[in-house]
Amino acid sequence: MPFVQNFPFFSIILSMFSGIVSAVLPARAAKWVNGVLIGTVGVLSAILLVYLMGTKEAFVYWMGHFPAPWGNEIRAGALEAGMALFFCVILLLSMLGGQKKLVGEVEYSKHNLYYILVDLLLSSLLALVYTNDLFTAYVFVEINTIAACGLILIRQNGRTIEAAVRYMIMSLLGSGLFLLGLCTLYDLTGHLLMSNIREAVAQLSRQQAYTVPLLTTIGLISAGLAIKSALFPFHTWLPDAYGYSTVSSAAILSSLVSKGYIFLLIKIFYRVIGFEIIGESKVINVLFVFGLMGMVFGSLSAIRENDIRRMIAYSSVAQIGYIYMGLGLGTQIGIVASVFHILSHAATKSLLFISAIGLTDVSGGSRKFLDLTGAGYRNKLAGVAFTVGSLSMVGVPMFSGFVSKLLFMEASLGHAIKMFPALLVLALSTILNAIYFMKTVIRLYVPDKRPDFGQITMKDEKLYAATLICFIALNVTLGMFSQPIVNWIRTGLSVFG
């Protein structure tokens, strides 16, 4: 076995080990461990990605001494490795961008606990990406949930703690449903490893046996993960959680945590149930409808909002709706569009959160639109970054959001019945997006000389500025060189099942 195949295992274990070690380290050391960890995992994933793009097939790695149906295993293909790399990049940039805010908002003696949370969050994301075992996925979903809750409440005021309670309640409902679905699936097939379950499920569906429980199981698992990733009617905790937590947390939560669950759902569609059976079941139609509703209602709530960070948070609801709409189409190209949107939304949303913090800093710490008037002049780079993010969200060419909208359009054209509602809502949602994002951008550039608010230039905050530039570059790269990325997603999906 080539040594490079150990890398997924190394990345998972390394991030867990760093979390454990950080518990006894002082805050500064924990910070360095965290940074080095994310960098190392990123490099390992990049090497793995290059290797897997060369071999064009996936490999299975035993976690222990026992082969497939008995032991536990992880499985890596091009899609997984690329996802891991992308998650690392976003995580590193979000941590760097929020570094300064963290010092002001979190007690110093609790900083190392924050880095433990981030380390373990990374390990759980990696495990969700790589694992080939359904029950392991459940355990790491729980780690992900608790870590996310910790990220919300690290900044302690009434709002965040209340948001954390609401988040936990929703997540626990979701985990309950997911676990029940998992148990039923185990009862029907007798396996816990994903590939083995798929063989058993395919056999059951050929024999037309256990059709009712199979349908319920798919429903339970999808509902559980949809609740956890804040699909439309279950999003009530989201604006407070994203709006009031410290900015790194908001960026990480919106761009990574919910995406981990969605990636797991895609994996379950492909590798556990089998794509044909999912396509025939009615469950994806429900996901499709809720996705469409989320696209409209999320944007409507965002328009009503008078607080810039809560507005960005509501926009996340709409974007999650897009992803579920793509999944709900039930076609290969729909999934490609969804995966691309996972990337594009993660890159854009964390950019928006990080740049919004630069804008509120030069507006006396206020997040109301009235005080933000002219903030684009007071902090030029943050203004430019926010504009780039907004343009990408609206779907202007050159930026990443445009490509994902194009892919969604293409995907919905391929479906006879769902084509009309999908296209209609896409157009409507784009208009709504344009309304609230352009409103904000115009507000930022209305000339307003307010001497009481200071100015921030690039030289004052070099690290922050560098982060923003990296984010803008990432966004433009996703928008301009989308073809290789789409090809990578296609190759990855072809060996995903």
Binding site: F135, V139, E142, I146, C149, L153, Q156, N157, G158, R159, I161, E162, A164, V165, R166, M168, I169, L172, L173, G176, L179, L180, C183, Y186, D187, L192, V212, Y244
Partner: protein, 125 residues
């Protein structure tokens, strides 16, 4: 609509009803402590459901006794292991929820989640 095995699977049926009770408590109760109780009922119900899955008529717990190692002697060990793992998860989550409740109570002197929300709005943070 209804399948043939509802009464044969009475153990699972009880587990499901308990799950529903816990689920509704978690969703509907306003009092945070009652919500946590609901959460625990829900989790325990899932473990009961899992344990029922592993049971086989007339067999004993999977601990090798007298060197007997036949499949026909013991129940299925896998669900028992999953229950063990699940219990730890539920303990951790309960501890987290309780400490959140303590913090909220210290600040707002109430356990009613809706009440807390209205006070937050009044604070206008």
């Amino acid at each position: 609509m209804l399948g043939p095995n509802l009464f044969a699977n009475y153990g699972e049926a009880v587990a499901i009803i308990l799950f529903g009770i816990g689920f509704s408590n978690l969703l509907l109760q306003k009092n945070l402590i009652k919500k946590i109780i609901g959460l625990n009922i829900m989790d325990t119900a899932v473990y009961l459901y899992l344990a029922e899955k592993g049971y086989i008529d007339g067999r004993v717990a999977p601990i090798v006794t007298n060197g007997v190692q036949e499949v026909g002697a013991y129940i299925n060990p896998v669900p028992s292991g999953l229950v063990l793992t699940g219990i730890v998860v539920s303990v951790s989550v309960t501890a987290l929820m309780l400490s959140l409740t303590i913090r909220l109570y210290r600040r707002y002197h109430t356990l009613d989640l809706d009440e807390i929300s209205t006070r937050l709005k009044k604070e206008g943070l």
